[in-house]
């Protein structure tokens, strides 16, 4: 058992190359017991490589990586007994049923939860006798979580748990993760959905090109970069950027996909001068709105590109 205060995961100066590609290029972080820690970043950022090293699936080139205070390469077996893993790929023995798969995976561990309890935990009771190939995407994802919980783990890794799910299925998965957290489990997840990170994670690390760019709670990350709020609108044609950045209170301006985004310290002043500018040019702004800065804005600001792609 982990002593209180002692991190469940400790990663210091982790490096991992594939040929010439530096997949993980000097990463350090810790995860505390009971914490939900998220790694956010686009494909190829190094999230999956990092998590797979922690899962004992890959060896680090260099760096100190410990889970439950044990070195991941030397104590992989005992770490695996106490962790649960959900990978991006889900199709496991497509012709076995939900119950059979859970029984099988349970047998891999020294101790495991009753299959019935696991099936109820992920709400797959009605599909217990269904072959995994016949499950819907959301059901497969829930099965995959149940498989990760089979040994009642203290630490659970979720690699992009909701990728490819419809909004409803995503919601129900989020509830599952929150349930894990309330039962005191430590969770480390990767995602490229900002909302998901904001909804679930106590702390987030933003990764790109093998580096952690920024790490902290979501409000911290936003507050560190954005004192401003964002004013957004559409116009055709787009207004000239040089004029927009000189409007009252505007600190930064950006345009993407026909939408203009102005970060402002003085929202009324910005809107007033914006309308005057538009009117003068004979253009009418549509879908005008104001919002707080989000993780999305943080990411855009850090990397110069949106995360969606």
């Amino acid at each position: 058992m982990t002593e209180s205060g002692e991190p469940v995961i400790r990663v210091a100066d982790l490096y991992k190359c594939y040929g010439d590609v530096k997949a993980v290029d000097g990463v350090s972080f810790t995860v505390a017991p009971g914490e939900v820690f998220g790694m956010l970043g686009p494909n190829g950022a190094g999230k999956t490589t990092t998590i797979e090293i922690l899962e004992g699936l890959r060896r680090p080139d260099s760096g100190a990586v410990t889970v439950f205070g044990m070195d991941v390469t030397r104590h992989a077996e005992s770490i695996k007994q106490r962790t649960g893993v959900q990978l991006q790929t889900v199709s496991l023995y497509p012709r076995l049923t939900v119950t059979e798969l859970l029984d099988l995976f349970g047998s891999f561990y020294e101790r495991h939860l009753p299959t019935k309890q696991l099936i109820d935990a992920v709400d797959l009771g009605e599909r217990a006798k269904a072959r995994s190939m016949n499950l819907s995407g959301g059901q497969q994802q829930r099965l995959s979580i149940a498989l990760a919980l089979v040994n009642d783990p203290e630490l659970i890794f979720l690699d992009e748990p909701t990728t490819g799910l419809d909004p409803q299925a995503r919601r129900s998965l989020w509830d599952l993760v929150k349930g894990l957290q309330s039962r005191g489990k430590t969770v480390m997840l990767t995602t490229h959905y900002m909302e998901e990170a904001a909804e679930l994670c106590d702390r987030v690390a933003i990764m790109d090109h093998g580096h952690i760019l920024e790490m902290g709670t979501v409000p911290e990350l936003i507050g560190r970069r954005f004192k401003e709020r964002a004013v957004f609108f559409d116009t055709t044609p787009q207004l000239p950027m040089d004029r927009l950045s000189k409007l009252d209170g505007v600190t930064r301006a950006s345009q993407e996909d026909g939408q203009t985004l102005l970060y402002s310290r003085d929202v009324p002043g910005t809107i007033g001068t914006l309308l005057a500018l538009a009117d003068g040019l004979g253009v009418e702004p549509h879908n005008l709105g104001i919002r707080q800065a989000t993780l999305e804005d943080v990411f855009l600001d850090l990397t110069g590109r949106a995360l969606r792609d």
């Binding site: 990978l87 790929t89 496991l92 099988l104």
Partner: protein, 363 residues
Amino acid sequence: MNTLLLLTVANIKSLTRDRAALFWTFFFPVMFVLLFGVLFSGTGNSKVKVGWVDQDNSQASMGLHNAFANVPLLSLQSGTLDEEKTAMQHGDISAIIVVPSGLEAVVAKTNGKSSAALGLFTDPSQTQTTQVVQGIVAQIANGFNLQLANGSEIVKVEQLTLSSTNLSNVAYLVPSILAMALMQLGIFAAIPLVQQREKGILKRIGATPLARWKLVASNILLRLMVATIDGVLIIGIGIALFNVQIVGSVVAMAGLILLGAGAFLAIGFLLASFLKTEEQATGVVQVIQMPMMFLSGIFFSFDFMPSWLQSVARLLPLTYLADALRQVMVNGTQVAPLGVDLAILTGWLVVCLAVAARTFRWE
């Protein structure tokens, strides 16, 4: 042990719930035996071809020739002993009757004290034909003796054996098709392995504390079970429907089936080490198993092949498995001594397994 059992059961369920896989592993070889068996077992209406070697060239031998030629079931072709032996080995004829020189002299004496022996070459593995021919020859020799020597046995029959590698011989085909089935079950094992790696199943299992050898062992157990079932099915059909005489002991056959399956499984594992995608695996496996099937003397007698092709066949492990199975099961002709067959199969098993163990990737 419990884990190994559950994994093996999981593999068995995966196989039995997959109709396409079931077809290839069980019905395909059974279909082959049935099809070839029915096509080529028929002595039914067709005549039995018999080689006629006349070393006496006398009136007596002419008389005998006419007697045999009048049997509607036989069709005679004359030639020297060497010619006829070659023809029989190639499966063109089913038996050879040799009339020894000196028959005329024996007949002339008719004192009942000297006798001549007709040589009769038959193939013991061709049970039905052999019995028919032996019966006819005995009957005619008997008639000859009655007519010319009042029943004293001046013409005897000397039973000789000569194995034929005969396409029309189900006894030849049964071990061959069993060898084919073992080859396929071993090499085809590469496909699900590549598939499981591609889908990340191997990786997912790698994230559990399960020891990897158990995963491999459960796979081998499943395939060896399938091999045993294939063996029972194919041999059973051979015996029950086509009256094939199995001379080998159950223990020897079982051992050989497991060795053969093991050697080809090792090849399958080796292939799975190098192939990346399921499509690639399906393609490469076909490219390997199809030519091997046709170049290893399974459907075509080894002796039929031009010598360069024989050299190719001698490189293929299937040639030796089929050869060993034929020798053990039906006393068939040999491409190589049994010991050599076993050594070569063991060699393939050990080398491929060693290389696969070093090169196999789990993701």
